[in-house]
């Protein structure tokens, strides 16, 4: 059975190989071992309750203990620094006198998303992307958030990768960021992973950008997600998150946004008092989580809710006597 648990120092080699397997680089995680070790240490202090703003990292493990996926939550986007996005806004250029009325899209550099809770750093083995492990890993974060509600913001964001070409270059970056850095996207992206995004974002042009001055291909790519992120977007939409007016300042990818308490997964969560083995009653798959902080664990369990207990024919390592959160794997899209 798959398990999702906080990443610890001993997961370092597995994390490193995962990062190097990922065909899409993550701008929120580095690939170098030393830097990854640092990130893990930060995450551990977060799970231990020592750092409220630390980015938490969760690992997906197979029965044999292999870590085959990772994902993260940044409880407070930007942590101690501003979190940068571009807001797609509009200015109306109008003259009654000249009978002209034109809406001009403008990108404003914004810190507004600073402090929201951000889902980030998701990657998993390619072959698992179409399995229930995808749901488990993705949504285990919501289980963690539900179990530690006071540690997170009211709103959730998820930055989706924008359009990158086959060489890993972003056309948005080429027309915007690169003008101000002289660094190509891959180099800048590596620097982001290394130093954090803020130090780079601080170098972005401070004044708004008239998108009408950008090449047409770039305009079309604004807020467009990379085709590979289709499954994630579908999930976000099912949860009730919507594409916001904010885009990533590096690759122009969209940011999805929504209130945590209104997310379908969150609303479907039930509190029970444990998981008990009992044959014959399995009816559906559940995400089940127990424990807090460092001891958090989340699994997929087939079973049935009876009274105050999840009954499953499968023997699990989960306790039959501890506060437990359960969430149906299959979501009804409209709960009400």
């Amino acid at each position: 059975m798959w398990q999702v648990k906080p990443v610890t120092a001993q997961d370092l080699p597995a994390l490193e190989s995962l990062m190097n397997l990922n065909p899409l680089r993550l701008s929120t995680l580095p690939t170098e071992r030393d830097q990854l070790a640092e990130r893990i240490a930060v995450a551990e202090s977060g799970f231990a309750g020592l750092d409220d703003k630390a980015t938490l990292l969760f690992g997906l493990h197979e029965d044999n203990g292999n870590m085959v996926g990772v994902c993260g939550i940044q409880p407070y986007a930007g942590a101690d620094e501003p979190f940068y996005s571009y807001r797609i806004d509009e200015l109306v250029h109008a003259s009654r006198h000249l009978k002209i009325h034109q809406r001009q899209p403008v990108l404003y550099l914004s810190h507004e998303l600073t402090g929201l809770t951000s889902l980030c750093s998701f990657t998993m083995l390619e072959k698992l992307r179409s399995t229930a492990a995808f749901d488990l890993l993705t949504r285990s974060r919501l289980m963690y958030i539900a179990a530690h509600r006071e540690h997170f913001a009211d709103e959730l964001i998820c930055e989706i990768q924008g359009i990158w070409d086959d060489q890993g270059q972003s056309i948005f970056w080429k027309s915007v960021g690169e003008l101000f850095f002289g660094l190509d996207f891959i180099t800048a992206d590596n620097q982001c992973a290394l130093h954090g995004k803020t130090i780079i974002a601080e170098l972005l042009p401070p004044y708004p950008i008239y998108t009408t001055l950008l090449p047409e291909a770039v305009r079309k790519a604004l807020a467009e997600p990379h085709p590979r992120t289709e499954r994630t977007i579908k999930w976000l939409q099912q949860e009730g998150l919507v594409k916001s007016r904010y885009i990533d300042p590096f690759d122009g990818g969209p940011t999805y946004r929504g209130e945590i308490c209104k997310m379908n997964s969150i609303r479907a969560i039930r509190n029970v008092s444990g998981v008990r083995q009992q044959d014959g009653l399995d009816s559906q798959q559940w995400l089940v989580s127990q424990g807090h902080g460092t001891d958090f664990i989340c699994m997929l369990v087939e079973g049935a809710l009876v009274d105050d207990m999840l009954l499953s024919s499968t023997q699990t390592i989960l306790s039959d006597n501890t506060p437990t959160l359960v969430m149906p794997l299959e979501l009804q899209h409209d709960i009400d």
């Binding site: 250029h93 003259s95 002289g182 780079i200 950008i209 001055l213």
Partner: protein, 349 residues
């Protein structure tokens, strides 16, 4: 002997003709009779001191003979941006630097600005095709320094001129195509016409208000920022030879540069001298018609300026023939101002 004088009501037809001839790009002379009539009225009122000095717009006309028709004109706007907002782009820079990242990048940036408001502007220079000879262009252009030198208190110490920006043989301005056009569908010639028609402020209000990062413009637009129209090159050279320098501001439509000089530092103003008139009886023997000197009276409403190949000077006294004195409307003992034209320049017609 050319004569330059304040424009008069009776010059309306000539003014309209010249505005029509001047074509696209000479924004201050739109082919719009009604508008030109208003301009004329304002200029006449300015010379009659019926307007506050800061609202004055002086227009002068050139005649090639004492009784001939106007063949050219030039103007001085006492203060720009007084009755409508005056826009320019200022050529600035945004610098991105990070030691950690090893980044140091200077990005040229256009900032919309009203900073030239209140300056005195030299403008509206036009000389009819057939009269582009005998240094008439130089005489016409530089006559304005004589007026400035004679009445400096009426003007700002900051004197500017806006140079027509680059446009191709079809009148297409690459800067307009790359920037302005994106903000409203209009040909440059239409926008230019509206601008000259007193709609400049309406158009300016449609232009982008936030700074424009130059590298975001297409290459053709970038290349012509601060470039002058080929036909304006001689005018720029002439202004530069008098001490004017590009001041880092460009036109918001065609990115033509502005040039600027402090009034008291304009070479022509400094070269000019105030002398007293003596009337002499002399027959001009020099057959050269190419003028080397400008002479003007110091009468405001009846300003007159003539150009001469030679002057006869006796210390603080300038000797004029009766005919010259009559053209200048001075009598013996009256003050006059002289200024040498600079040595012949290649652009002199």
């Amino acid at each position: 002997m050319t004569l330059i004088r304040p424009i008069a009501e009776s010059d309306l037809d000539a003014l309209i003709t010249m505005a029509r001839e001047s074509g696209v790009g000479v924004t201050s002379l739109p082919d719009n009779p009604e508008l030109m009539a208003r301009k004329l009225k304002r200029a006449v009122a300015s010379f009659q001191q019926k307007l506050p000095p800061e609202e004055a717009h002086y227009i002068f006309v050139m005649q090639e003979t004492p009784d001939g028709p106007p063949v050219g004109l030039c103007g001085i706007e006492a203060r720009i941006g007084r009755d409508e907002v005056w826009y320019n782009y200022r050529l600035g820079e945004v610098i991105q630097a990070s030691e950690t990242l090893g980044v140091y990048r200077r990005t040229p940036t256009l900032f919309l600005s009203n900073d030239m408001t209140g300056a005195t502007e030299l403008g509206s220079l036009y000389l009819r095709e057939l009269s582009r000879r005998n240094r008439n262009g130089s005489v016409l252009s530089k006559s304005r320094y004589m007026f400035l030198a004679s009445f400096p208190k009426l003007f700002s110490e900051r004197v500017i001129a806006e140079m027509r920006g680059y446009s191709d043989a079809n009148g297409i301005s690459p800067f307009w195509e790359g920037l302005g056009k994106n903000f409203f569908n209009m040909k440059f010639s239409d926008a230019d016409f509206l601008t000259g028609s007193g709609n400049k402020v309406f158009i300016a209000e449609l232009m982008p208000k936030f700074p424009i990062y130059v590298p975001m413009l297409n290459k053709a637009a970038q290349d012509v920022i601060g470039a002058v129209h080929p036909l304006t090159q001689p005018a720029l050279a002439m202004l530069e030879s008098e001490g004017f320098r590009k001041n880092g501001f460009v036109d918001i439509f065609d990115a033509g540069p502005s040039v600027e000089c402090e009034l008291s530092r304009i070479d022509g103003v400094r070269r000019s001298e105030r002398l007293n008139t003596r009337i002499v009886d002399r027959t001009e023997t020099d057959s050269s018609v190419r003028p080397q000197w400008l002479i003007c009276n110091e009468r405001f409403s009846e300003f007159r300026l003539i150009s001469l190949p030679h002057i006869y000077r006796d210390g603080p006294v300038l000797e004029l023939t009766q005919e010259q004195a009559e053209m200048l409307r001075v009598s013996a003992g009256d003050p006059v101002r002289i200024m040498s034209l600079k040595p012949e320049e290649p652009q002199d017609g």
